[in-house]
């Protein structure tokens, strides 16, 4: 079983305060729509994510939860609506501006999405050498070891992803994402496919790292224990729209059957 050792690193997070808009809203989504052919997945999405806030998006499979964060990360282009990230309207950005903005956004994929031909060390060095242009071997090793230390996986540094368990892969994926010190984290079902103990460890790790790196996060999940641990606010999605918002406790008391079903 994996050790849930979360080591505190003394290094200060390298957040770029100038990027945060004055109103503290780091992501603003207004009337977002997205279709795939005839299938309209996002019908009218409206959301504001504030600095330091963790929002959990709950919803049944196939409701477009992941599509929303893929639009935020610029992996998908919305059909209509306004999508502002750190005060910048995504649709107006050119390739270089989008690339620059993406350095402020971290994305943890459902599978971890580790580069399977590279070791854990190489996986973590990849964004450092390409994005931050760090070439010094000592500096790279220090940063990689710090990042792995913060997810409790320093010993896995020279292993290949195929040698790691599902939970370990998620942790390494998290370390690789956080190594660029993003201001916003997008988690796509971070606990899916994990046993309840590892899922709890990952959820607690999300909260710990959020406090440490002062990130804001959108977490896509249908794992209620994960939602309870990580959420400052929960948004419930159904049929391409957000139908309710509130804290875990508020929504748990909701008379709406659809919402209530999640909390049973």
């Amino acid at each position: 079983m994996e050790q849930a050792q979360i080591n505190q690193v003394e290094q200060e997070p390298e957040t770029d305060k100038e990027q945060i808009p004055e109103d503290g809203v780091v992501i603003r989504i207004e009337h977002l729509k997205k279709s795939f052919g005839e299938n309209q997945v996002l019908k009218d999405i409206n959301l504001e994510l504030h600095k330091g806030e963790n929002i959990v998006v709950l919803g049944r499979s196939g409701q477009g939860k992941s599509v929303t964060i893929q639009c935020i990360a610029g992996l998908l282009e919305p059909d209509e609506g306004k999508l502002e990230v750190l005060g910048k309207e995504i649709s107006t950005l050119n390739e270089d501006e989008l690339k620059e903005l993406r350095t402020k956004i971290g994305f943890l994929f459902q599978s971890g999405a580790l580069y399977d031909s590279m070791t854990v060390r190489e996986n973590l060095e990849f964004p450092l050498t390409r994005v931050l242009q760090i070439k010094d071997k000592e500096e790279l090793t220090k940063r990689v070891e710090d990042a792995l230390d913060s997810v409790g996986l320093k010993d896995a540094i020279d292993k290949y992803p195929s040698d790691l368990s599902g939970g370990m892969r998620k942790r390494v994926g998290l370390a690789r994402t956080l190594i660029l010190r993003p201001q916003i984290m997008l988690y796509d079902e971070p606990t899916t496919g994990l046993d309840p103990i590892t899922a709890r460890e990952i959820s607690e790790l999300i909260v710990t790292l959020q406090e440490k790196y002062e990130t804001s996060a959108i977490i896509i999940t249908h794992d209620m224990p994960c939602a309870r641990i990580t959420a400052d606010r929960i948004v419930v999605m159904n049929d391409g729209e957000y139908i309710a918002t509130g804290t875990y406790d508020e929504l748990a008391k909701s008379p709406d059957e659809l919402i209530n079903n999640f909390f049973k």
């Binding site: 350095t103 994305f107 994929f109 399977d116 964004p127 994005v131 660029l180």
Partner: protein
């Protein structure tokens, strides 16, 4: 039409990223090793057998016409001009384009390419540029090696039905060749290599979600690249004829 537009856009991205800062030399050299060195045995055996079989097939007919002495020259011209580049390119398509298509397709399905994109790294520069350039460089080298081994196979083929010294065989073979045979033949292999790399990368990079699409990407890469090679060869023959004959 949408697919054509997508291919043009992909080619444009490839072109732009060749000259961007931060060329991935290590990955390029690794891909040269994967594409070139790991294909040597297959290409060498194929080249040798092509020469050997071609000689065995043509020698009896040539003998009937009393033209046995022309066998080395005929083998040399056939191998260098057409059979060598064409068959080696098709063999490389089966080995390399399918492998690139499956590898990138698998990376797409497992969201590794998305992860690169989201982290602001440049997947086109790292994955696509290196593979296409490695194919463009290595396929001509593999073809030249296969041609040389086909000559050796041809010499051994001649010797199954009599004795011809290596010196005589190779002298006659090279005497039949001119620069107008070799230059266009080598130049077209660069285009074949590019087609193999480009189609493999395009099919893999645009694989849809789901494990089935990895197999489809590999399969489609082989079929499309093979068609491109045949088409390019037809164009190359026309251009060569216009320039030299």
């Amino acid at each position: 039409m949408a697919a054509v537009g997508e291919q043009i856009s992909f080619a444009t991205q490839f072109g732009r990223n060749i000259f961007r800062n931060g060329f991935e030399w290590n990955e390029f050299l690794h891909q040269c090793y994967v594409v070139g060195v790991r294909s040597i045995s297959l290409v060498a055996i194929s080249g040798f057998i092509i020469g050997f079989v071609l000689t065995l097939q043509t020698q009896p007919t040539m003998k009937q016409f009393g033209a046995e002495s022309f066998v080395p020259g005929m083998v040399a011209i056939s191998i260098v001009r057409e059979i060598g580049p064409m068959i080696i390119a098709l063999i490389c398509t089966g080995k390399i384009a399918s492998s690139i298509g499956a590898e990138l397709g698998s990376m797409k399905v497992t969201e590794q390419i998305d992860a690169m994109e989201v982290s602001s790294a440049n997947p086109i520069q790292y994955l696509v540029v290196t593979r296409i350039l490695a194919c463009t460089l290595m396929v001509p080298l593999l073809t030249v090696m296969a041609d040389a081994l086909a000559f050796v196979g041809g010499w051994l083929g001649v010797n199954t039905q009599g004795h011809v010294s290596a010196t005589l065989f190779f002298r006659k073979a090279f005497a039949a060749l001119e620069f107008s045979d070799m230059i266009p033949a080598v130049v077209k292999t660069f285009f074949f290599g590019f087609a193999i790399g480009f189609v493999g990368c395009y099919k893999g990079y645009h694989a849809s979600r789901g494990t089935e699409s990895v197999g489809l990407a590999a399969n489609s890469a082989v079929v499309t690249a093979s068609l491109w090679i045949i088409l390019l060869d037809a164009v190359a023959v026309q251009i060569t004829n216009l320039l030299y004959y």
